[in-house]
Symmetry: D2
């Protein structure tokens, strides 16, 4: 029997940074076996449009059964599992090609949003039990991260492939240059994402556990 | 010619509070003429399900052309215009009837999300120019506020009635009991909401102005 | 019998702002009778050295029995009663004359710090009971505010004149230009400071009530 | 020639925690040679009074030339080098013996404050250059950390022994139980404190580099 494939994407650096923790984590796990599946890392450009074209190529080429896209989130202190992607690009800064769309649809005439099809509550619960700061996020923003998350869910809707998005903090070396920003060690992120991937791969029926916000 | 009606809803107190700024603002504006339309205030219970039944009754009874629902958001410091409502109830605390749904749809087999149909960027721009702290929010949470926002957009989808949601800060007297929480004076909120309602009423084509978040 | 005088100082705008809430509050209360004492407002330049010379002139000219110096604190959401002034100038930005001292003593060969001689716990308690967001602060920073607070306590040490410092939030119109910053309405600040002045004037033995921070 | 000794203290767990990062870091570095000096770790009880007695015993027994006391600071995201200790105990929670002093002097009839005698700006500068999130803090709080910092500076005032305090973040496993709190990996803290100790040992004349706050 053919073993499964997990596609794990990370982004190239953006916003003036010289490193992106999402890609550092992805490439560190590249080739690993997690819960019987093989992890395949893929780097996405931080560019509206081109990021989704790159993702489509990865999906076609590797035919994964599960996809986790990672993205850097300055200001967040935990492994932040996203619940929902919305159909809007509203860029506060320019992407790596200089594009800065405002209030444009990711995909015209498509649904307003897609939910993650990963067991997000199980992932957070397992991470916390294992000692990782983790939580559910109700918004992936409106920049290239949400763009990729939305486009991925749209492309995979109705398929058997399950997919979702996780934001991760800055690395300590990035926070050193941005006083006051929380960070997380690369090793913590790598082992945490490895754990979350295993849970995502094995759990089909998510636990019913609170992860909401009041406002 | 018949003049228009704006429905302005606020919630009863919840979460141990004895007052809810959203209702204080709504009732203060009740009966006012704003940009030629008459404001009608309506109080919603902070109860899943019942809140939407109450809203439906208000819509049927008053036939407004525009609805702005207000909600209290502890921790926020500005007039926070919501962009999108999602189809999920995930209650961190019990509502006023003791109900605490987790990961249930607001409305089964309905779309994942609805966008506000108000000119949210114009509202924020006008508020800031006039000296009010204001911003776009990418998440209305997963409690009764989002529940009402989602249910309202679902009911009014395809109709000519435009609608949206605004979260507002705690009142100073509430923040006095929750050290560290930001607040806003009632008078600031009343005059700010009045201004935003006028903009919402008059502007049909929203301005193209950034209001996104990176993550 | 001669009635008493309260000196209430505020600063001129700094840091690119066109208004300073500390002066707006002070001048609004100028001439008022509070608890039998007359409030006298005095504006200080936001300049190291010159601010203390101006304060010394006010003290000599008006011979107050009590002094409350007010200062603007971006990022704070409450009426923030300072506990202690430290003998250091460490300016993150230049003052209004372009001076930016780093790790210099406010006054050479003087004590490391002075505590407020106002009943800070009573002031906070009274404010909270009356519905004002308020708290004790353990640091007045290291800019001109702390400079004035330290110099004032040094000059008045051993005298019968009691004195202290209160930081206050940005005005809403300032926060409108700095998205995410908390603010407070001018009216809330004026009435809150009036209340705090009355408590400061009347209370000689402060209440024993917690106002500490762990770290 | 006799080599030097650095005393590195950490606290026992408090406030319901089962681990204290300050002690984990101290004991990890126990016995190491740093810049030619030998690090000696010492655990302090999180108890007013007893902590200072324990520290006095360590100082008498080991005769260090330099002391760095470490403490846990929930809510902080960086290696936080304290500038000043103030002569007040104001406990928001009880210490590990149930004592909760309010507005009492650490040491009666002693100065209002003492500054760190370590090169705090050099320590922060070196940490940032090496990729560690770090900063100057203007307040060590009013709990047992500040109590130890103040008592230590008082005891060592006028001696040749240099001393100071550093607050460090929660460990990831602690933050996992306190959603939203920033954290730092133990390894990051250990290597960062090792670096800071080396700088503290070697640098006698601190760099003149900004580390202030406005308010």
């Amino acid at each position: 029997m053919k073993s499964g494939t997990i596609l794990l994407t990370g982004f190239e650096p953006f916003g003036g940074e010289h490193i992106n923790p999402s890609w550092e984590v992805a490439r560190a796990l590249d080739g690993e076996q997690v819960a019987g599946a093989r992890v395949l890392a893929w780097q996405l450009p931080c560019v509206f449009g081109a990021a989704l074209q790159s993702l489509a190529k990865a999906l076609a080429q590797h035919q994964p059964q599960l996809v986790l896209a990672l993205g850097q989130a300055a200001g967040r202190s935990e492994l932040s599992v996203e619940r929902v992607a919305i159909n809007v690009d509203d860029a506060r800064i320019a992407d790596n090609q200089g594009s800065q769309p405002i209030d444009e649809a990711v995909i015209a005439d498509a649904p307003a949003a897609y939910f993650s099809t990963l067991p997000i509550k199980s992932m957070v619960a397992a991470l916390r039990v294992a000692g990782y700061p983790a939580g559910i996020s109700q918004s992936a923003g409106t920049f290239v991260c949400n763009h990729v998350f939305y486009g991925m869910q749209h492309q995979l809707a109705g398929s058997a492939v399950r997919s979702g998005f996780m934001h991760i903090p800055l690395l300590p070396q990035q926070a050193a240059l941005h006083p006051g920003q929380p960070s997380m060690a690369l090793e913590t992120m790598i082992t945490g994402v490895r754990l979350a991937l295993g849970v995502a791969w094995r759990v089909r029926n998510d636990v019913r556990q609170g992860g909401g916000t009041i406002a």
